[in-house]
């Protein structure tokens, strides 16, 4: 490990030369930044991983079943397990998807499950990201670079190889594609914050990186337009564009990114869309509360992974608790993502606390409240080259094709501010490699 830490500068030089960046818009200006990488990895022992793996597979299976159910029979609502206010009124629920079964009945092909580990070593789920979770490319390329910079470290530590993520994605895409045509990764373009990832995953999966304007729909089939307007049938689209911008004729009419009539092709079962349309209903922060109940309902199993203690002001008992204890809770706006809309009661002035209470009273469905989980710190090497503890989470990637598999790694994000719990890259956070130990 000492060798790896000594190679820190070498690692950063290599990351820079591979263009490992993410884009940020500030005051309307696009800037590319290096995603700060810390060489000290998060290590997960094999037995701990085995439990996590089981729990993640269980959770994603239940979420996939929920998505099928909510766009078909709606049993879980009819049986009173989830109130209808949390499904049909969710921003992520798409009535256009009602009755559509995506290719191979998979909805959440790539799930990014955010977890933290509390001081007792318990893993708690913070969020399920089932639309377009990003971040896998960073630990992938970090591993490639760190192995190069410090081979001895990897001789001395039995770490599961994580450079197979491209193969996992390709296998899943081929399964969903089912021989209909080529696989494409559809990017909104080079000025998207995650463009590095889009292009790197295209390289690693062998899929064609498609840009807005490259895809057309004819006779309910999707085609990629090649040189001399030659058309190549597309069998699977791993889209990195939000639902609402994917088809201007079905969703947001002002979208210039989308593929007109894509929804028609999808509905006809002529193209696989990864992840499926309408998944937003399952990664709504309000629905998160119900995921352990989904596990019991669909799988008839005890949930292996727990949520962070969460309250829904929608329920009277929870509402009263939140209003009374708002100062010690973290309040989250269900419509926000990327670390936005997260408010810590302890950091708010009395006036702001009153404002937040009023917001909750006015629209209880819009908010959730969670106990502040005192999750463990991991050391990073700070700007003065000293080890310094920071809050870290873990985004685990679960890929579902023929089977549901967990990638033996993950994106460990850390807060750069020693006093902050917010780890998102869009909020200035950095990342670490995640080592899943073989022994």
């Amino acid at each position: 490990m000492k060798e790896l830490l000594a190679a820190r500068d070498t690692v950063n030089v290599w990351m820079e030369r591979y263009g490992v960046r993410f884009g940020v818009y500030k005051n309307g200006v696009f800037n590319e930044q290096i995603f700060p990488f810390d060489s000290i990895p998060r290590k997960i022992p094999a037995d701990e991983w085995a439990m996590l793996e089981k729990g993640l597979i269980q959770r994603v299976k239940a979420l996939n079943m929920f998505l099928y159910d909510i766009y078909h029979e709606k049993r879980i609502v009819n049986d009173g397990v989830i109130p209808k206010e949390f499904t049909y009124e969710s921003k992520g629920y798409m009535p256009d998807c009602d009755g559509i079964t995506p290719a191979k009945n998979v909805y959440a092909h790539i799930a990014g499950i955010d977890l933290v580990q509390d001081k007792d070593g318990r893993w708690l789920v913070l969020e399920d990201n089932l639309r377009i979770p990003s971040g896998a490319s960073y630990p992938m390329i970090a591993r490639k670079v760190t192995r190069k910079a410090s081979p001895q470290t990897f001789r001395d530590n039995l770490v599961a190889d994580n450079r197979n993520y491209g193969d996992m994605l390709r296998e899943m895409m081929d399964y969903i594609n089912d021989g209909r045509g080529i696989n494409v990764i559809f990017t909104p373009g080079r000025y998207n914050s995650a463009f590095f990832e889009h292009s790197y995953l295209a390289e690693k999966t062998g899929a064609v990186l498609a840009f807005p304007g490259d895809l057309v729909v004819e006779n309910s089939n999707v085609y990629y337009i090649g040189i001399n307007r030659r058309k190549h049938r597309v069998g699977a689209i791993y889209r990195r564009v939000s639902d609402e911008y994917m088809d201007p004729l079905a969703f947001e009419p002002s979208s210039l990114l989308g593929v007109p009539n894509l929804m028609e092709s999808y509905r006809a079962g002529n193209v696989g869309v990864i992840n499926a349309f309408g998944n937003g209903v399952a990664d709504d922060k309000g629905i998160y509360y119900f995921v352990p109940k989904m596990v019991s309902y669909y799988l008839n199993e005890e949930p292996i992974l727990s949520n962070a203690p969460t309250y829904l002001p929608f329920f009277k008992e929870d509402f009263d608790y939140i209003i009374k204890n708002v100062k010690k809770l973290v309040i989250k706006d269900v419509a926000e993502a990327g670390g936005y809309g997260v408010m810590f009661g302890r950091d708010m002035s009395p006036e702001r606390l009153e404002e937040v209470k009023n917001l909750i009273i006015q629209d209880p469905r819009r908010w959730i409240a969670q106990e502040v989980v005192d999750f463990i710190d991991l050391d990073i090497i700070d700007e003065n080259s000293n080890p310094s503890p920071r809050k870290c989470d873990l985004r685990a990637f679960v890929v579902t094709g023929r089977e549901t598999k967990v990638w033996k790694s993950g994106l460990t994000r850390f807060s750069r501010d020693p006093h902050s719990f917010v780890v998102n890259s869009s909020q200035g956070g950095g990342f670490k490699d995640t080592w899943v130990m073989e022994k």
Binding site: A202, V208, I225, H232
Partner: protein, 231 residues
């Protein structure tokens, strides 16, 4: 598997090939110009011949040494080395999956260095030698990893730019013929990428004796060269 390219990507590949070659040859010619200036007699304007051949207006408002620095680092001068490298990157950035991260990394290195040297107002041209080295490594990586039409488009771009710069700097015709014969091979394997009529016209002009006799004749052959490839 055959790589499938959109027209935009084909265009980016062609222009990546062109800019990478322009950067390489420009640096080579800059080094030569710096060397020649050592012997320029008092009273003559240094670098003016170099700048004019690149169609840079030589202004009497500034010294040509200053204009030469602008020709290296100014991001707003479209013919500057820095602009050429920025354009290399603009094309390469959408092509990672076609050229692979290893090839891409050499472009990234060139871009980082030119920016750093520009910030430092570095005037010693030997400090830019790594750009030449990385561009050679870039082409080595391309030859090692890339095949088919992706390779053809990059190489056609490289050869067209090579010819363009050789014509601008009035290289011997035998050198031009040598490169043109390499382009002709691609006209056989990738005919849909070329305008046959323009290519024939160019070949005829190349045979004539007057290509360097006037600015007009040079501009004409350059104009035809730049319309041969259809991407």
């Amino acid at each position: 598997m055959k790589t499938i390219l959109s027209e935009n990507k084909a265009n980016c590949l062609y222009w990546l090939g062109r800019y990478a070659e322009r950067g390489y040859i420009m640096l080579h010619l800059m080094r030569r110009a710096y060397d020649e200036v050592i012997d320029v007699p008092v009273g003559e304007v240094p670098y003016s011949d170099f700048l004019e051949k690149l169609d840079v207006y030589v202004s009497s408002e500034f010294t040509t040494s200053y204009q030469m620095m602008m020709q290296i680092y100014d991001p707003n001068t479209v013919t500057s080395l820095r602009s050429v490298i920025e354009m290399m990157m603009n094309n390469a950035i959408v092509l990672r999956s076609e050229i692979y991260s290893e090839s891409f990394s050499y472009i990234e290195l060139c871009r980082d260095l030119i920016r750093k040297k520009a910030d430092a107002k570095e005037m010693n041209i030997t400090e830019l030698q790594p750009i030449t080295d990385w561009l050679l490594a870039f082409w080595g990586s391309i030859r090692e990893r890339v095949r088919g039409q992706v390779y053809a488009l990059l190489e056609i771009g490289r050869l067209v730019e090579h010819l363009d710069m050789y014509i601008r700097f009035e290289y011997e015709k035998s050198r031009l013929h040598e490169i043109w014969s390499m382009i002709e091979k691609y006209m056989v394997t990738e005919p849909e990428l070329f305008d046959k009529g323009k290519a024939d016209l160019f070949a005829n002009l190349l045979e004539s004796d007057g290509i360097y006799t006037s600015k007009e004749s040079k501009d004409l052959i350059l104009e035809i060269l730049n319309s041969i490839v259809l991407v």
